[in-house]
């Protein structure tokens, strides 16, 4: 407003900045740092028969994480999440690109359509998919109308259903960041590439893709990380046939009364995220401009 506060700001910038940051710092401390610390401490503890955590140091839990059973589950979870991410990029990129290049007055409306599913609860949306995919469901009903002799498709409770569910749940998280970088994309760069002799495909691979890479990287992070840990979709749409790491962790807390082991799995899981994030940051940010 007036110049006076700005001057005093300059004289005491530090504590004012901290004051502004305080709510966030408190929030992070309370809900991120402390729980993470508890998780890590628990992962080195033992437990009694009731599931009480005993504060005696042990590496047993990490030893169990390295059991091939759980390593294999980690690998499979990464596989599912990776496939989900790839499909989300393949499906989400064209959508994000079209929205980002659409006329301005249309963009908000189209984005709204992407967001609409979020207005209903996750469980309801998942049950809607069950209604579509089940043996006597909408999809098979439609197929029956088209070809009465064909045998119904067996979709629900298959790995395909799990991937459908994961892609459906996380697609918007891929579309939004890609849209963000497509929208920022300078149209004259595309024209320049055309002008320099690049056909549509070359423009896409040599200019559009590299310039929207930060969006793809952000989307990949937003889809891959939560998809690795998802357990509800695996249970509801996959029939819980194939355990993924999220299910195993959930099981330790909800059924097996083994919090320390669950904590150890969680800690390894978080380390995995950190590594993914670091890779993405290096990979994605390398292309981003740094101020001259």
């Amino acid at each position: 407003m007036s110049a006076a506060p700005a001057v005093s700001d300059r004289s005491t910038p530090r504590w004012r900045a901290w004051l502004l940051l305080a709510p966030m710092v408190a929030w992070l401390t309370l809900f991120v740092v402390v729980p993470t610390a508890i998780l890590i401490v628990y992962s080195f503890c033992e437990r009694d028969e009731v599931g009480r955590v005993l504060f005696t140091f042990t590496l047993e839990n990490y030893h169990r994480v390295l059991d091939p059973v759980y390593l294999w589950i980690f690998a499979r979870s990464i596989g599912y999440a990776g496939l989900t991410t790839v499909i989300c990029i393949a499906v989400g990129y064209p959508v994000a690109y079209c929205i980002g290049r659409a006329r301005e007055e249309w963009r908000q409306r189209l984005l709204l359509l992407v967001m609409v599913p979020f207005w209903t609860s996750f469980l309801i949306r998942t049950y809607a998919w069950i209604t579509i995919l089940k043996q006597e469901g909408l999809l098979n009903g439609l197929l029956h109308q088209l070809s009465p002799t064909a045998s119904p498709l067996d979709l629900l409770y298959t790995p395909t259903a799990v991937v459908i569910g994961l892609v459906y749940a996380y697609l918007p998280f891929m579309i939004l960041p890609i849209y963000g970088s497509v929208e920022k994309l300078d149209g004259s760069l595309i024209e320049a590439a055309h002008d320099l002799g690049a056909g549509p495909l070359r423009v896409f691979s040599a200019v559009i893709i590299p310039l929207t890479l930060p969006g793809i990287a952000a989307g990949t992070l937003l889809v891959f990380v939560p998809a690795v840990g998802m357990f509800a979709i695996t249970d509801l749409m996959g029939g819980a046939r194939v355990p993924l790491i999220g299910n195993v962790i959930q099981n330790q807390f909800m059924q097996a009364r083994d919090w320390p082991f669950g904590a150890a799995l969680g800690a390894v899981f978080m380390a995995l995220f950190a590594v993914t994030y670091w890779v993405m940051l290096k990979f994605g940010a390398g292309e981003e401009e740094t101020p001259a």
């Binding site: 028969e49 009480r52 589950i73 006597e136 029939g239 819980a240 046939r241 355990p243 059924q255």
Partner: protein, 342 residues
Amino acid sequence: MKPLRLLLPALLALLVSAVAARAAGELNLFGWSEYIPQPVLDGFTKETGIKVNFETFASNEELLSKLVAGGGSYDLVQPSDYAAEVMIRQHLLSPLDPALLPNLKNLAPEFRQRPHDPAGRYTVPYMSGTVGIVVNTDRVKTPVRGYGDVFTPALKDRIVVLNDTREMVTWALYTLNLPINTITAENLARARPVVASWVKLVKVYDSDSPKTALLNGDVDVGVVWSGEAAILWKENKKFQYVIPAEGAHQFIDVLAIPANAKNKAAAHQLIDYILRPEVSVLISEAFPYTNPNLAARKLLSAEQLANPASYPPGHPKLETFRDIGKDAAAIDRLVTDLKSAQ
């Protein structure tokens, strides 16, 4: 400032109502979700003036971890048999006063003094059930009598089972004629190939609502809670319930008072209220499990009593679970490994 000014009166009002409720008596109940009909609690409050604060849990482990951690102060809890056994052993429950529970006489003797509470000092059975086989007889024409008839290649990908590792291992132990409550490495090693062959046949694992896959026609046979089977049977008589010939897990969900309960008198009042036949029958109508209350059973209709999932005919071999402590981890690893290895 404004939100605070609005908030203060609201807080005051809340405080006042809390004090008022305490004056009339208040009861903190921690029970299974979808297991205690709201009209039962409303009727109790109307009659006694005691307000019931109802919190729910989804698994015995959730209940156990809350009680063990000392979180929350509950006056009445609703564990299953084996969880009650742990609580008794850990001195987490308070003995009941039979003098305050005149309606105990309504209970069938076979539901009291079971291994989890041999003297019947700590627990009162609420509802009981079994884990058995439900068959869609329209689709499955071969006779199904036991686990061996469910887990056959002929029914591959047409089976739903509970998503519970101990249940599955228990069924395997039954088919091998091994004890279900004594878990040894040797017995698990023998059960392993059986479970391994079963996981290849199962289509859906679901503990929360196994009836859904059956109703949707995605599977034709299941090993499920008897309550789920009873609902299916009410829906359509083609869903037949069979207690497996090899033996079946029976569960008894009980009411018990935690050692640190503040309002034990009110807890006794609610237990005795639930034991009244006309109250107990309300529970049976909403949740068609096996009602241990003989007086209440007299009030049930012929059709309700004929539901094989609620009141199985004959004298099947039924056993409750005992707490197996850390052996649960071995079972969990075994089943996870086999499911994962497909």
